[in-house]
Symmetry: C2
Subunit: 430 residues, 2 copies
Amino acid sequence: MSISDILDGKLTEKEVEIKGWIVTKRSSGGVQFLVIRDGTGTIQSTIHKDEVAEKIFQDADKLTQESSIIIEGIVKEDKRAPGGYEVRVKDLQLVHLAAQEYPIGKKEHGVDFLMGVRQLWIRSPRQIAILKVRAEVIKACKDFLDERGFTLTDSPILTPSAVEGVATLFEVPYFGDKAFLTQSGQLYVEAAIAAFGKVYCFGPTFRAERSKTSRHLTEFWMVEPEMAFFTFEDNLKLQEEMVTYIVKRTLEKRKRELEVLKRDVRPLKKAEPPFDRISYTEAIEMLQKAGYRIEWGEDLGAPHEKFVSLKFEKPVFVHRYPTKVRAFYMQPDPDDPKLVLCADLMAPEGYGEIIGGSERIHDLKLLEQRIEEFGLPKEAYEWYLDLRRYGSVPHSGFGLGIERTVMWICKLKHIRETIPFPRTMKRVYP
Amino acid sequence: MSISDILDGKLTEKEVEIKGWIVTKRSSGGVQFLVIRDGTGTIQSTIHKDEVAEKIFQDADKLTQESSIIIEGIVKEDKRAPGGYEVRVKDLQLVHLAAQEYPIGKKEHGVDFLMGVRQLWIRSPRQIAILKVRAEVIKACKDFLDERGFTLTDSPILTPSAVEGVATLFEVPYFGDKAFLTQSGQLYVEAAIAAFGKVYCFGPTFRAERSKTSRHLTEFWMVEPEMAFFTFEDNLKLQEEMVTYIVKRTLEKRKRELEVLKRDVRPLKKAEPPFDRISYTEAIEMLQKAGYRIEWGEDLGAPHEKFVSLKFEKPVFVHRYPTKVRAFYMQPDPDDPKLVLCADLMAPEGYGEIIGGSERIHDLKLLEQRIEEFGLPKEAYEWYLDLRRYGSVPHSGFGLGIERTVMWICKLKHIRETIPFPRTMKRVYP
């Protein structure tokens, strides 16, 4: 039996057993009010002095915050109780009396303190709500792709070479040699499309980011779909559908959690295809007009993305960046070889990039040329070049960052709350 | 339009367009036979000289193995064709002519060679079948847990301390300090149960294994469920249900793939609850009787597991190991404090361990004592001890190894084929 079943109205007037933790406790006259959490929800229970054995009432009086208990009682509909139901306790069994002075009290705590007790912080209503949304977003990604005939093909974590630039690589000593933690599974899903057509990987990726921004973690999760015979345009369309699906699913299944977070859901409801689009060149002009000191040819930074994102009510694709500021594997724009067929999807409300995607180069010679131009070690990419030697096909793909998507959907100020145990430059504990 | 739809009989006599790769080619009289793969399946197509433009017939003649093409034609039912259908080609467009001499030919290749061209090897029918089973097993794990109210809570990959022993830790330099690649997400899911009740993590785990056995990878994926208020017995029951669910689902959805692998599915169909059970002590006696030189108190090795596994037709739990050969966090057996309430689930047919699970210690004092006895640095576990200070509850969990499960279901000789890009002591490329 679970609290969520009670809150769904399935157990009214029934006898229930709840195993959980004390969230808060107060007493008034001959009644003790215990708010209990069991992992599926939170409910108020009442212990009436004249209805239970004396020992039970005394035990209840001793309960500290976060103590674990098992209660038996009857579910009553009660408009005054939060959630509309309460459990009238008949029996109470103490499982473990939590130490006095639970570290996380009602007063405001600093972030460093809370991050240091993350193992307890994740029990608080706000963190539970965020992590429930995270689980839903992940499930939505997988369901969306599975329903469309994609095959999950896990990319390796330990890799021989960089995908996104050597500056942010974590190096791992590997039996007398060395390996690197993956920055993206993309090159490997490109290999898998010749076996499965449409594939995706889902896993942790790593960037040794020195930047202490509110949008960076050193360890974060990405879903990376890759599709054979998909054009740049097909790719954008799939992204629109997927993001719409994720948002709709979360609105539907995580209504309670979004309420806990006091998320105004109206802006989310606007995420419907077609999304807005603006070229990189247009974005630069827009930024320059607004007084930003940025030249054509420079990459967009976080403040630029924020500015662009705030100009649109829907997610917006910023497309066709200059070749030089993008990765070596991107297909040139046939209309302008200085540009590549890539797009970053910016979440609205100032959130910026949640997806990066592109059509990939399928021509062997051009890819070899790019590897040289970008100063990359060709021998490390021989296996990847093989994909262009044997049955190369036009193909496209993208990577959606789970934490940034959750940050937007929950409307959070900082990305660190979007993952159970965040890792940053300064933190690898607990 | 996909080949799988044709093979399902949905497109008979319809005009279709297939985008794919040439698997094999032969010609006979005025007909060319192309076997084509598109990622959803494989089908024969025929080009009749008198039915197509001369250029198309000539183009087809030049096609090399793995060349990518787009064909248009009519689906015909044909008992003689593998799969029962063929496409009668009307038009053919060459996308990319694969280089002559595809590295993987019809002759036998050594494993080292094949592992070195894994980016191409995954295209072969046997590898496709195995990796499809892998994707199904993973999806089955998640669906099983999601349907039962579990919340996915990702454990971190970069961690401050060892879970399964320091000998097999990968160390990562981390901004002037150091971190370790996770060996198991268990300690973190234990934290999450107080927030969500029933949780699981799913992700890559790492062991710097020096042993070059057919059952070890340095990087492998685990699903690790953890349940508040679950007894040892509840835990075994859940494992039985989950393994049964995984096997049933694979038998149902991956029939074609198991046929490609020539897997005799009769032994798999026997995996129904209740599974067999044998205590560690009984297993030792059984091994000693069979002439194995093993003493009570020693851990079981791969040959022992194999022997035990071959004695049973169903998966078998080997339960209650000596405290000393198991991890520090396991709950003692109330009937014999020399033992812990753990069980390894051995897959039949000689495969051995696919799951390790246990009830966890919930008492603070006992856990502190074990950390001392095992010579572990207490300060690294302070956060974990907190879980026993604030509302500790009896709880249990387990870890199921994806690759070992796939190895058993596919009946493979070596684990390296169960993951797209295997990592071993000697291999981190491609």
